[in-house]
Amino acid sequence: MDAILLQILNGLDKGSAYALIALGLTLIFGTLGVVNFAHGALFMLGAFCAVTLQRVLLIGSKSIDPTKTDFLGKPLVVETPYVESWFGPETGAVIIDWSVPLAILFAIPIMIGVGFVIERGLIKHFYKRPHADQILVTFGLAIVLQEVIKFYYGANPIPTPAPAAFTGSFDFGAVLGFDPNAIIYPYWRMVYFGFSLIIIASVFAFLQFTTFGMVVRAGMADRETVGLLGINIDKRFTIMFGIAAAVAGLAGVMYTPINSPNYHMGMDFLVLSFVVVVVGGMGSLPGAVLAGFMLGILESFASMNEIKSIVPGIDQIIIYLIAIIILLTRPRGLMGRKGVMEE
């Protein structure tokens, strides 16, 4: 029992990342009808927003500390971040410590802006081209984005720690009455899970309870009719692209303490999140979320030793296997609308 609970918990954080990326992907597909292979790169850009903020906060003035010496015997050069000299050492240290959560504020406008630029500058011209062309051009864009990041940040993973308050682990086992230390779960992963639920809920609420969201949903159902009613649906869809980019970016920002970001993290997630979207059903938002969590949890179940001893190697292929089975038996995915992309 405790082993099962542990696997469910382990699956949740990866599932959250899958769900968030897939949510943005399917949002783009549902609104613009574009298959965006650059979405993983947007996730990566978000992660590097966090890295950038951390670096910016650490910029400081250099001063010589006469009381200490370095290993050569010269006076030690101490770098005091400007944040610390402006807000005082205590507050400054807290700000630097909380750089990852703070990066959320920093990432939202950047990612929305990046989304706007990509949509207006590139994807707009690809509405009428075949899906293969959309895949190819966004694939090219993903290569360009990741190479730009590689150029500025290098090829090595950059550690971005979570705030000190969240570094420990929570002992679920002791609380739920199992053996202590049987189910240990890092605090930050709980934060990530909670955060992703908030984001998912707010995207749904935005689409469900605002006039803007209503128009967008109407546009997803029948773009032409909404256009005939005199509504500029293109503009709204562009904004949705920005929001989808921001969702992917935020998923990336908060993911940095779990896995140190490197330039190809987007590509690593891209394939899996595509599988998630297809399993959930192209264009179906609840489907993407459901499939994201489901595949994340199944993946962590498959990596249990008990299961691996029955079916060796299953942990490596489970997601793809499920995707293949679903695509062959139920082509519109778990919750896809009938007739959408069902060839």
Binding site: V144, E147, V148, K150, G313, Q316, Y320, I324
Partner: protein, 398 residues
Amino acid sequence: MLGLNQKDTKFLLIVIGLTLFTPFLLQPFAEGSAMAQFNAGYPDLMQRFAIFGIFAIGFNILFGLTGYLSFGHAAFLGAGSYSAVWMFKLLSMNVIPGIILAVIVSGLFALLIGYISLRRSGIYFSILTLAFAQMSFNLAYSVLTPITNGETGLQLSLQDPRILDGAGEITSLPVTNFFGLAMGSSAKLEFLGRVFTFNVGYYFCAIIAILAFYLSLRIFRSPFGLMLRAVKCNQQRMNYTGLNTRPYTLAAFVISGMYAGLAGGLLASMDPLAGAERMQWTASGEVVLMTILGGAGTLMGPVLGAGFIKYFENIFSKINDSVLHSWFAILPDGLEDFIITIVHPFVGKGWHLTLGLLFMTVVIFLPGGLVELGQRFSRLFKRKKATKDVAGNVKPAE
């Protein structure tokens, strides 16, 4: 000749000529001159041109003719490599059995994957092939380690049985050969300050590449090829006329899988080791890049694209800052540094960036790839020469 009309025969002869004279053509700059690093006439790179040319020609039979975009072709390349290396380990160092087994194994593998994946089309087909390729990649790393040797990759060893040409008493690793002709051996010719290398391995690959090209030419011109084009044009209509298109697409998929396996077998023959990273989806993405960049659906395009990308990968990636400094040394210092700062991100380690930008440009402006670029240029000149002609009546690349 050979069942081709006059135009195609001429085309094929040109291709044969270019392929055989590649060692000359790729060595245009004198040794030691400033441009010498643009010479690409060394065996390793020339072999890659031929091998990836075969890979791209095969991919084009599927994507260019039927429009099915497979993102999993690297799986067949990897399967071909593994089977060829196994043949070297078990049977003999002669490359022929290895290559034959590579083609057969990858063909069967493609039959299996294609049979399942071709039930869907469009993006679903892409995702299915991607899923299969990733599955094989992950399995090659984990469970299939006895066959693939996991992360180390499959290599030759002194303990290999090698039934035909006997191991036993040898003390060093044998080399791959074609009935005694070692793949690595090459003849050199010095002429006009240039060193031309004629490599056995390259010519072996080149002759196979010519055969592969000839086969694809025949497929393009055959009724079968016409059927595949019809599938690309409008599959629904084909189905409405009562024709089952599945066998045709499956045949195209298997043929292109066998081409990929052939390329994999050749890769292993040139350098007898095989690793799982050959199956990764980025490797599949590379062949897609090659085909699109050159011009999907054209005969010559994929080969051009493959050559272009491999040239970039090997030559452009070597241009570092000191090379740039030596180029722009005549400029005043400030200007020199400025230009180098601008150029720097695009060359050397950043060549992927150039490739990505180039690829996007091609997809946006030139859906027909480099071949379309050439056609546009030639049309431009033709129009200037013969204004009486009804210009613009040239058939677009298909």
